[in-house]
């Protein structure tokens, strides 16, 4: 394998690690706000590293640009969605978890 394939594999594996970390956080954290916090790791870092790894394997520059655009769109919508979910939870009266 050439060096770009090695780097691409490394990036994909680290992206996978962040996805696993985000999922573990989603399952284990105590309330909505902390779970949203865990999900942003999966969204930004996990998807960003995965996209970077795929860009290295992309066949044409337009394909690489489309992959980067997908990452930017997911970040933007993820941020807005987190704000909306946290706001709805706040309006519904969910208080942040405090250490007992």
């Amino acid at each position: 394998m050439s060096w770009s394939e090695w780097i691409s594999t490394l990036l994909l594996l680290s992206g996978g690690f962040f996805f696993v970390a985000g999922t573990v956080g989603l399952l284990r954290f105590p309330d909505v706000y902390t779970r949203l916090h865990a999900l942003t790791k999966a969204d930004n870092l996990g998807l960003g590293l995965t996209t970077a790894g795929l860009i290295l394997q992309a066949e044409t520059p337009p394909a690489a640009l489309k992959l980067a655009l997908i990452w930017v769109l997911v970040i933007v919508t993820g941020a807005a969605a987190s704000y909306l979910i946290a706001g709805s939870a706040r309006t519904a009266g969910l208080r942040p978890w405090r250490r007992p």
């Binding site: 933007v76 919508t77 709805s88």
Partner: protein, 322 residues
């Protein structure tokens, strides 16, 4: 590599079955709908693994995305957090239903196993005539040229269904309800994402002639953009009167019918495109279909959305979020 892919396929199938069971077994309606959206996404992965990228695109956009929004609207229209009532079936009835389901599943598995050894159907004949169809994607050629009659009638049925639903839900010529929402983040997001949705829809429409894509997928993306605008409180679409909406719903069907009738008047048989004009006619029909499908999907969701009394989020009082 193929062993890894087989492991992935087995995990995907197990995930699909598990999610389907969880959707059926959930007591809470909202939870069932969210799991159904996840099921739709896994299903589109399954379509990709089966080599049907067009169906995967449509499943992700319509099956997981827009159907999910429709189901969430329905859950909100019902009493909030309504749970599924207990079913009262005797043990014999449960046993009978269970064994019928198992028998049906085994029959389907046997049929699929039997099909696996056969040849690829009509793919060879489609490839042989692909050059004459005007497009280079076999899926688009079959949908809009070789079996265009089926697509014409499908669009007609879809338009009828949506018009019927709109007539039931929205009443007679009243403007649709508009509930402006004051949220700055949501309206900024909608304002920036809607042009992107239009661009992506146009790209999907054009790439449908030579790659996975096409009118339905592009229409689904347009519809999602319209739904996002409605959620953010832009009332332009909600103010369209029912008459105008009905015209947009049938636009695709009418253009398709006009092309079909036009070639008959020009001396060919029904839907037999003149050889030089096939590509232009297909792109024209697909564009009209995209607009129609977009408005139909967005209209369905906008019409069936519940009234929202909520303003933007209240800011936390001092000392609460520390």
């Amino acid at each position: 590599m193929t062993h890894l892919l087989s492991v992935f396929d087995v995990l995907l199938a197990a995930g699909l079955l598990g999610l389907a069971w969880l959707v059926m077994a959930s007591r809470d309606l909202f939870r069932a709908v969210v799991l159904f959206i996840g099921f739709g996404l896994l299903l589109s992965l399954a379509w990709v693994r089966l080599g049907a990228a067009d169906i995967a695109l449509a499943e992700a956009a319509i099956g997981a995305g827009l159907t999910g929004v429709l189901l969430l609207n329905t859950t909100a229209c019902l009493r909030r957090r309504e749970t599924v009532p207990e079913a009262h079936l005797s043990t014999f009835a449960r046993f009978l239903t269970g064994s019928l389901c198992v028998a049906g599943g085994c029959a389907i598995a046997l049929i699929v196993a039997d099909l696996a050894g056969q040849e690829g159907g009509l793919a060879g004949q489609v490839q042989a005539r692909l050059a004459a169809s005007g497009v280079s994607s076999p899926v688009t050629a079959v949908l809009l040229n070789f079996r265009g009659y089926d697509t014409l009638l499908e669009i007609g049925v879809l338009a009828l269904a949506v018009i019927g639903l709109a007539s039931l839900l929205a009443g007679d010529l009243k403007p649709l309800p508009a509930e402006p929402v004051d949220d700055p983040v949501l309206s900024a997001l909608a304002r920036r994402l809607f042009p992107v949705a239009i661009l992506v829809a146009g790209h999907l429409l054009w790439s449908g002639t030579h790659a996975p894509g096409g009118a339905f997928q592009a229409g689904a993306v347009l519809g999602s953009g319209g739904v996002l605008l409605h959620l953010a409180g832009f009332t332009a679409f909600s103010r369209l009167r029912i008459r105008g909406l009905r015209a947009l719903f049938v636009l695709g069907f009418c253009v398709f019918l006009a092309v079909a009738g036009g070639v008959v008047i020009a001396g060919n048989r029904l839907l037999e495109y003149p050889p030089g004009l096939a590509r232009e006619l297909i792109v024209l029909i697909e564009s009209a279909l995209m607009v129609s499908v977009g408005f139909m999907l967005a209209g369905l969701i906008i019409i069936s959305s519940p009234p929202r009394p909520r303003d933007h989020f209240p800011l936390p009082r001092r000392g609460e979020m520390s």
